[in-house]
């Protein structure tokens, strides 16, 4: 019965994908939305039974691979961690399916879009319910595929195609690490099922093995390799470049895949593997560093972007950084808590942005907005809620989860923990600032839009507003409702065995005893950020321009996203094409063929030509040659006789 939750979206996807033309747009929408809503209801049932009722279980479907020591099943693992993820994925996905009915109404390929959305949901669910590394990898690459298809959904646009390929290939770089990690796990443990690996992990503490010529600690190496995969999927600094470009996809895609679910797969992976990471402290430290650095990096870039979706994309990147440093200080529950609240408010923000874009007839540049409050009150209202939650203003969802993360980082009392705490505080300030920059630039002040566009700007239809309201309710209440379970007193009972924390790493417990100022500081900086944005974009609207002109170098550095794209282009993309071309023309063409077949053929032709010239047709030439031959033969015979 519970297995249905995974397969309902797949069924919807297949029906809409193959029957789309016969069903028509409306039929395809129903064929995907109904199974998705059913899955959402089922996911809530599962959450109550498995997570709150403490009833974990694994449903084995059938044998997948059985070669030598490697035995893998297709299975559905239901424990608190996967139940939380299933709930988040299904609820958000079903809302976005509904929203898409309105948002994509005028598109020419509605069935294809709905089919892709459901297909994505299916892959995401196989990922979170995986019972072994390889099924997780299946879901992992599957969501990558769906993401590729959806980013490139409008295949007529060159930018969309480029972004789609970039997303897939950059993710593959991460998957390169993930795959090596899986190979290493099998090498070290002799199995790829989660439970036996987790049981055997403590035995490998301190053990070394030889990896590409280096003698290294097994667990640290494996955890770092696996983390590379997480960095790719969750857009952490270095492998983040695909996420902002992914905004080429339709907005519901950005909300579902590039904010609420797929990009959090890396966070989920580390949490799922907490029984391994707990014994790899160096890997955890690296995760804290990468997470905290991403949080601040993305927040600084978010300050300067003008595309409404890109601002939110960088904000997502930054929030994922928070989740990662939470994981790094062993506050897994806090990370998943933030993942959950973030899914609600960030999906809300994206869908709100989509509502704005829809109402403005596909305008995304905030410099051409402003004054939209009167045109779209509901959208503005829910965007405020989303931003309040994102900034961590009390008692919205983000407040609960972000605070506990920062407190846990502080309470870790490590150098890296402090690094994360202080960068997290600064990033929180920036978050509040750019969130209200977005709100003010979009909804307030005199409009900068083209009068004709502004004239026709309109509020979205109810089919889009209802999901916004549902998500807004989540953005208000999810933190308050979940706090006790995810990170409060109920947490040990709630998580059961699905998360593992060594007693000495219990930073969530320590976080509850953090000093008052630590608890207050995030709220204070959030309010300061909002006030600063109000000052800069409402009170003195020309101030940002002046600052940008004064600090031109810094401004350009941020506007160009720290020049990562340019760097990678020079470092990898162009050399790869250059090398490929060179190897083809010189390597294959001149060297191998030149010396090999073509060279041999040329030499043969040459020789034949010379031999041909010998046949002069003059009898005395032939006689002469014969005579010489005879002499040579006779002398050789004589010499041989003597010898």
């Amino acid at each position: 019965m519970y297995a249905l939750v995974v397969f309902l979206p797949l069924i919807g996807s297949i029906i809409a994908g193959f029957g789309g033309r016969r069903l028509g747009d409306r039929g395809a929408q129903l064929a995907t939305v109904i199974p998705m809503l059913a899955a959402a209801i089922l996911s809530i049932v599962i959450f109550f039974d498995v997570a709150l009722g403490g009833n974990p279980q694994t449903i084995e479907l059938f044998r997948w691979i059985d070669v030598g020591a490697l035995q893998l099943n297709w299975a559905i693992r239901l424990d608190t961690l996967s139940a939380v993820m299933i709930g988040v994925v299904c609820v958000v996905s079903s809302m976005i399916h509904v929203y898409s009915i309105g948002y994509m109404a005028h598109d020419s390929s509605v069935p294809r879009f709905m089919s892709y959305l459901s297909l994505f949901t299916f892959f995401m669910l196989t990922l979170v319910t995986a019972d072994n590394f390889v099924q997780m990898f299946f879901g992992w690459e599957g969501v990558g595929l769906a993401s590729y298809l959806l980013i490139g959904f409008w295949f007529g646009r060159p930018t969309a195609n480029a972004a789609a390929i970039k997303a897939f290939v950059v993710n593959r770089v991460g998957d390169f690490g993930f795959l090596l990690g899986i190979l290493g796990v099998f090498f070290a443990f002799g199995t790829l099922d989660f439970d036996p690996v987790f049981e055997a992990t403590p035995n490998l503490v301190g053990e070394n093995f030889n990896f590409i010529g280096m003698d290294v600690d097994i667990l640290t190496t494996l955890c770092l390799l696996l983390f590379v995969g997480a960095m790719g999927k969750s857009a952490q600094i270095g492998l983040h470049t695909w996420l902002p470009d992914a905004m080429e996809g339709p907005t519901p895609v950005s909300a579902l895949i590039h904010a609420a679910t797929m990009v959090t797969a890396g966070v989920f992976m580390v949490a799922r593997l907490s029984p391994m990471y707990e014994f790899a402290p160096i890997a955890l430290t690296v995760i804290v560093f990468i997470g905290a650095t991403t949080a601040i990096f993305a927040a600084t870039v978010g300050l300067t972007q003008n595309d409404i979706k890109r601002v939110i994309a960088y904000s997502t990147c930054s929030q994922l950084g928070y989740m990662f440093f939470a994981l790094g200080v062993s506050a897994y529950g806090a990370a998943i808590f933030h993942l959950m609240t973030h899914a609600f408010f960030k999906a809300l923000l994206f869908l709100g942005a989509g509502s704005v874009i829809h109402g403005m007839h596909d305008e995304q540049d905030m410099r051409k907005m402003g004054g939209l409050f009167s045109k779209m009150k509901v959208t503005a209202f829910v965007m405020w809620i989303g931003s309040l939650a994102l900034a961590g203003v009390p008692f919205f969802a983000g407040f609960w989860s972000k605070d506990i993360i920062l407190e846990a980082a502080f309470a870790a009392h490590t150098g890296m923990g402090n690094y994360a705490f202080w960068l997290g505080i600064v990033a929180a300030l920036l978050t509040a600032f750019y969130s209200w920059r977005l709100l003010f630039m979009t909804f307030n002040g005199p409009t900068r839009a083209d009068p004709s566009v502004y004239e026709h700007a309109h509020e979205s239809p109810p089919v889009m507003l209802i999901p916004l309201v549902v998500l807004a309710l989540g953005a208000i209440f999810a933190g308050w409702l979940g706090f006790e379970y995810f990170v409060g007193h109920e947490r040990e009972h709630f998580w059961g065995e699905s998360l593992f924390v060594l007693p000495i790493h219990d930073t969530i417990e320590a976080a509850h005893h953090a000093p008052k100022w630590v608890k207050l500081l995030p709220v204070i900086v959030a309010v300061v950020g909002i006030v600063m944005a109000f000052f800069a974009y409402i009170m003195v609207p020309n101030l940002p321009g002046i600052i940008a002109a004064r600090l031109k170098a810094i401004y350009l550095f941020l506007l160009n996203k720290w020049y990562f794209d340019e760097l990678y282009d020079r470092l990898f993309v162009r050399p790869a094409f250059y090398l490929g071309h060179g190897l083809w023309k010189s390597g294959d063409g001149e060297l191998i063929d030149g010396v090999g077949p073509d060279g041999v053929a040329a030499a043969a032709r040459n020789l034949a030509g010379r031999a041909g010239r010998l046949q002069s047709g003059f009898l005395y030439h032939y006689a002469f040659v014969m005579l010489i031959g005879l002499v040579v033969l006779v002398s050789w015979y004589l010499f041989a006789q003597q010898g």
Partner: protein, 504 residues
């Protein structure tokens, strides 16, 4: 089924079809139509027969099955000896599966000399099946080399503008290898006084001869596979070959190299195999990285897929020479999977080549608007080639890498870069052909797949997914044989070490 000559029947049934085609009389149209139907029915019946082999195959044993033996040249102990084990069985199926597909794919594309074309394909089928079922080295050699003749003719007669250059390049490369193979066979005959393969498998060949024999075999198999740096015939041959020729070339002929390693080099020359493994690793890794980069720069669709084949075959050799159960099973699986996927990709190129008569990537773009079905099947095969989990490509690559990692982490590390590059060149190809705006005038009237083409593609799509989601029916077939192969190999190594220790 005891005593029933199933293998002989499967092997030579295509020749019966040839006889039928030769008997067809009438004007050109009638001959062409009848030849097509005769070839299709013959190949379908052959395929049905080969399914019997699969259904009646005993998974539990590594022995040769369906064995037939008759004296042929008794004075030299050369016999007509056929049989299949887990390693060869699925290759027979691959050959019989792809032939009807090739016949269907050539239905409209080939209009001149149809009779001769169909005859060439049926003869080719006999040669391919014979190669995989032969249990006598001389018999094997005849089939193995016999494959060259119809293929040479197919490229040389029905090929593109540079077909003669390509056909000769193909022929010379492979022939150079064959000469050394023949020498090796003779030497082995003088060692064992027989050319019977099962006997040779249990014969210990003198250690000082092994390296030389091994290198002679390498010369032949490396060209067939092809391995870097003797791969340059492949892109040219593919580019000039007609679609169905490319399908068989990529689908089956390349696998003969890998099969050769598994049947001869590894079990018969274990000491040399051990000694030369680093060489194979190095060549394979170069193949993967080098040809993937070259594929990235290609402007011709067929060349790109040809180069990707070299990279994928690199995984095969790594898997075989990792000499672990995962590696070898992965290598066999990868060969089968690549046989399906690369064949299908060439068919995909053929579909648009038939319509537009160009292989240049730049001549396409935006096909998805006019050809959504085509875009879908091309997508599945592209993903299979990329090795996406859930397709057959993943299982093979994953098992190979799993085996390689156990043997040498450097090899696994470097080979894994292939998954990044593979994604890059395939997605880049797909984007330029399928996506983008449909702007070129001659593309605006293209028609989507017709029912005949759907009938060609659907079985391939289903197989790619089946082998990815539920690969056990395939893996089970070669499980016992691979285990036996490794056991024999390790036994031989241990014995020789024992001897050298004792000698000290």
């Amino acid at each position: 089924m005891d005593g029933f000559p199933l293998l002989s029947l499967t092997t030579f049934l295509p020749l019966v079809g040839v006889a039928f085609i030769l008997m067809v009389r009438g004007d050109e149209d009638i001959v062409a139509r009848n030849s097509r139907y005769a070839a299709l029915w013959t190949s379908l019946v052959t395929f049905a027969l080969s399914l019997f082999i699969w259904f009646n195959f005993d998974h539990g044993t590594s022995d040769f099955q369906f064995v037939e033996k008759a004296a042929w040249l008794p004075r030299f102990d050369v016999s007509y000896h056929l049989g299949v084990d887990g390693i060869s069985m699925l290759f027979v199926l691959l050959s019989t599966f792809l032939t009807p597909i090739c016949v269907l794919a050539s239905w409209k594309a080939v209009t001149s000399r149809v009779r001769e074309y169909m005859i060439a394909f049926l003869v080719l089928e006999t040669m391919m099946i014979g190669t995989f079922v032969a249990l006598d080295f001389v018999l094997f050699y005849i089939f193995f080399e016999g494959v060259l003749i119809p293929m040479f003719i197919i490229i040389g007669v029905w090929g593109g503008p540079r077909r003669v250059y390509s056909a000769f390049k193909f022929f010379l490369y492979t022939l150079a290898g064959s000469v050394l193979l023949l020498v090796a066979i003779l030497v082995m005959y003088f060692q064992a006084d027989t050319t019977d393969i099962p006997t040779l498998l249990v014969t210990d060949i003198a250690p000082h001869l092994q390296p030389w024999l091994w290198l002679a075999l390498l010369a032949s198999f490396a060209v067939k596979l092809p391995m870097w740096p003797v791969h340059t015939w492949l892109p040219d041959a593919h580019v000039e070959a007609p679609t169905a020729g490319s399908v068989i070339l990529a689908g089956v002929l390349l696998k003969m190299g890998g099969y050769g390693f598994l049947r001869f080099s590894v079990p018969m020359l274990p000491l040399a195999t051990d000694q030369f493994t680093p060489l194979i690793y190095a060549l394979s890794i170069i193949a993967i990285i080098y040809t993937s980069l070259v594929a990235l720069a290609q402007e011709d669709m067929k060349k790109l897929i040809a180069y990707s084949s070299v990279a994928h075959m690199g995984f095969v050799t790594i898997g075989i020479f990792s000499l672990t159960d995962h590696g070898i099973q992965g290598a066999i699986f990868q060969m089968l999977s690549h046989g399906i996927i690369s064949a299908a990709l060439f068919l995909c190129v053929g579909v648009v080549y038939d319509r537009v008569h160009s292989r240049e990537i730049a001549d396409y773009g935006g096909l998805v608007e006019r050809m959504p079905k085509y875009a879908f099947v091309f997508m599945i095969f592209m993903l299979g080639s990329v090795g996406l989990p859930g397709t057959s490509g993943f299982i093979g690559e994953f098992l190979v890498l799993l085996g390689a990692f156990q043997d040498n982490t450097w090899v696994a590390f470097l080979a894994s870069t292939g998954i990044i590059l593979g994604a890059a060149y395939m997605l880049y190809l797909y984007r330029r052909v399928i996506f983008g705006k449909l702007e070129k005038e001659n593309l605006k009237k293209l028609l989507d797949l017709e029912p005949r083409e759907v009938a060609v593609m659907v079985p391939l799509v289903l197989l790619v997914l089946w082998m990815g989601i539920y690969p056990m029916p395939f893996l089970d077939v070669f499980d016992a044989s691979v285990a036996n192969l490794i056991e024999g190999y390790e036994g031989a190594l241990a014995a020789s070490q024992g001897v050298s220790v004792a000698g000290r």
